[in-house]
């Protein structure tokens, strides 16, 4: 029985051996139900144990295994080889991030930005747990739910030309997360977050390319989050000029 195989062209970067990245080509057995991550695991287990990449849940929710697959940012656990077969599959580290080793990128910048947007419930006073939950209707949950689905896979940062050009840009996932808390009926931190979101390298840096929304594996739609945050910020600014006391007397 002849076994079908597929060529995997994998970007390598081993700073202890070579100053520049290079490409290794491997051939692995091909089955129709294999994902790109399966092929990487085949390589690591059977051919070359030195290949480095991150993965865990293999069900598209832990967010570890984002890489460039044939030029597009993808979750490798959810990208099937059959999409490319019999052509070779090119796997590279996520674009726009520094590379630590092979397919492993440096997430430090993303993690710092995530914290900057204050992704937690901010309230003037919190009621004691004994007093029970804050009531929130299903409609109020729906208002922010979509923006709470982000798995921090960072595909949107790789897709975003603005982040590629200006690393200061907060970026799609972080802005969507800020929007998620701003829209939560339990939250009172909009003003604090606006100090982070409303700056030049916040929402105003986005030129509405929309690639972030296209690549998002969880339909978070960061691009909509950014545009709506712009509208909300502008409306508030206009209201504060026209109605300095927000209609209160």
């Amino acid at each position: 029985m002849s076994e079908e195989t597929i060529a995997m062209k994998v970007a390598r970067y081993r700073p202890e051996h070579a100053a520049e990245p290079y490409v290794d080509e491997y051939r692995v057995p091909y089955r129709e139900d294999m994902v790109v991550l399966d092929a990487l695991n085949q390589i690591k287990d059977e051919i070359d144990g030195s290949l480095a990449y991150r993965w865990s849940c293999r069900m598209g929710v832990c967010g570890s295994c984002g890489m460039m697959v044939n030029g597009k940012p993808r979750l490798t656990c959810s990208t099937f080889l059959r999409e490319f077969y019999p052509k070779p599959v090119v796997v590279e580290p996520l674009r726009h991030f520094p590379v630590i080793r092979d397919l492993v990128v440096d997430m430090t910048d993303f993690m710092e930005k995530l914290k900057e947007v204050k992704p937690w419930i901010i309230r003037k006073g919190e009621k004691p747990v004994e007093e029970g939950e804050y009531l929130q209707t299903p409609e109020e949950v729906d208002a922010y739910k979509q923006f709470s689905m982000c798995i921090n896979c960072m595909l949107c940062y790789s897709a975003c030309p603005v982040y590629g050009r200006d690393p200061e840009f907060l970026g799609p996932a972080v802005i969507a997360l800020g929007r998620r808390y701003n829209l939560d009926s339990r939250d009172q931190g909009q003003a604090e977050r606006r100090e982070v979101l409303g700056v030049d390298w916040g929402i105003w840096d986005c030129t509405f390319v929309g690639e972030c929304t296209v690549v998002c594996p969880k339909d978070v739609d960061p691009s909509a989050a950014i545009q709506r945050e712009k509208v909300a910020t502008t409306t508030e600014a206009m209201l504060s000029v026209m109605l300095p006391f927000k209609g209160r007397t």
Binding site: S56, C57, I100, R101, E126
Partner: protein, 569 residues
Amino acid sequence: MQTFAHDIVIVGGGGAGLRAAIAAAETSDALSIAVVSKVYPMRSHTVSAEGGAAAAMGPDDSFDLHAFDTIRGSDFLADQEAVEAFVADCPSEIIQLEHWGCPWNREPDGRIAVRTFGGMSVNRTVFAADKTGFHMLHTLFQTSLKYESIVRYDEFFVTKLLVEDGRCAGVAAIDLRDSEVRCITAKAVILCTGGAGRIFSFTTNGAIKTGDGMALAYRAGVPLKDMEFVQYHPTGLPGTGILMTEASRGEGGYLTNREGKRFLEEYIPSKMELGPRDILSRAIMQEIEKGRAFDGPYGQYVHLDVSHLGEKLIDEKLPFVRELARNFVGIDPVHEPIPVRPVVHYMMGGIDTDLAGRTRLPGLYAAGEAACVSMNGANRLGSNSLSECLVFGARSGRQAAEDALGASQTDERPVEKLAQAEQARLVATYLEKERGRERISAIRRELQAAMERGAGVFRTEESLKQAVEEVRELRERYRDVSLDDRDRAFNTELVAALELENMLDVAETVVRSGLERLESRGSHTRRDHPDRDDERFLKHSLAFTTPEGPRIEYGDVSITRWPPAERKY
């Protein structure tokens, strides 16, 4: 060597670890808390939990009902004191998480909603669609960011507990960036590293679930309790093992065989699809043995059918099931049944702790799936484990905080020496060792296959004996393991080797404890000992490490108000 000093070190950044960190931070601003994790916290396997978190909050629920369901589900092996502590704390933990922003599903009036789950006699499972673990983990992680006293060591792999003068005084951890050991000292160390499903080949568990904390504690002399109890979830996708949540049955889904029949009528007619996991997994295996299952490339399977629930309900309450089935097996559950078979999901056993997470090694605590308090006994009920992470994460965090506040500053020098020795061991054993003959992947694959054969849903003396021998042989072969990768930068093969060592230790306690338990109870089903034997085995097993392998002792089960009785549904 770089040394970092903290008051509390938490190993693992999943549900239990983050809850412990926040509990410690809220106990006192004066405490410095480190979360050391081999992955960024939001990658932790809590993220994959789907169905929900149990709490007696519904209008028809009560403390006693939740407690009794849990105890009966455990086949009376749970410590009733632990169950009572657990049940009492669940509602406040769920509300605490709500205050932190968790997007729980709601009733039309805005109150937190509850859904049906297996083995629970009333609606008790709080949920965020079928991505409950994901939302809990991200809520906890994002909330943890507001505490300045919580310091994270992301992508640090702990290789050893540093025990000085009879106390756990810190950990040695490799920074994956450069593969150098760092010495992280503490007055209290909490292990929240999750389970070890990866010791089996067919599991719902992510790659990171390799029993690291269990192995660390075990090697430090702390016993692993009730390790023979491995939960098979009835409904995993054949091949990948991806979980199809129990909520799909809680919402009304059916299990059917090749004859199109809801076969559970023959096994548990009173509960049908809402029976506990051990009973349902056995029923499916029996259907397979009777030739009433479907044949597939990845073994035989039965059908999980939710199509009659309709697209609206599926999209509202089971969207992830639909997404996973579509993406990974090309099936839309709105129109077609999903192929499923029993799959290793959860370890009831773990590091022996008391109700505050303390182990018998001073300074060492554990919580979550890594620990065994024990509130799950011989079979855990679905949705009790997310709540367990919250309740016992918080309890261990508070206890560790109080103990750390009262502890005196320890001398770091002897602890540093231990870490230096660990660095030397790692270099000699792995990075600068001459080439060996064994590949990590080969030993891992054989270990997983041996566990599947020997310690599956049904077990016998013969199967377990063989597994004990095979694990022993694999341990011998492990000494000759060799790395392709000798780089210092992000050496994932080094991590894989260390994980495999942990898996071998944990696996050995599973098969040895299983071999010595001559009865069937909960998930542990011995064909050669089909009955429960309370006289001899209403006991917790305790596996201690010795050079010859695990030594099994037994400990008492705490019984408060529910005398052991036949487990009837």
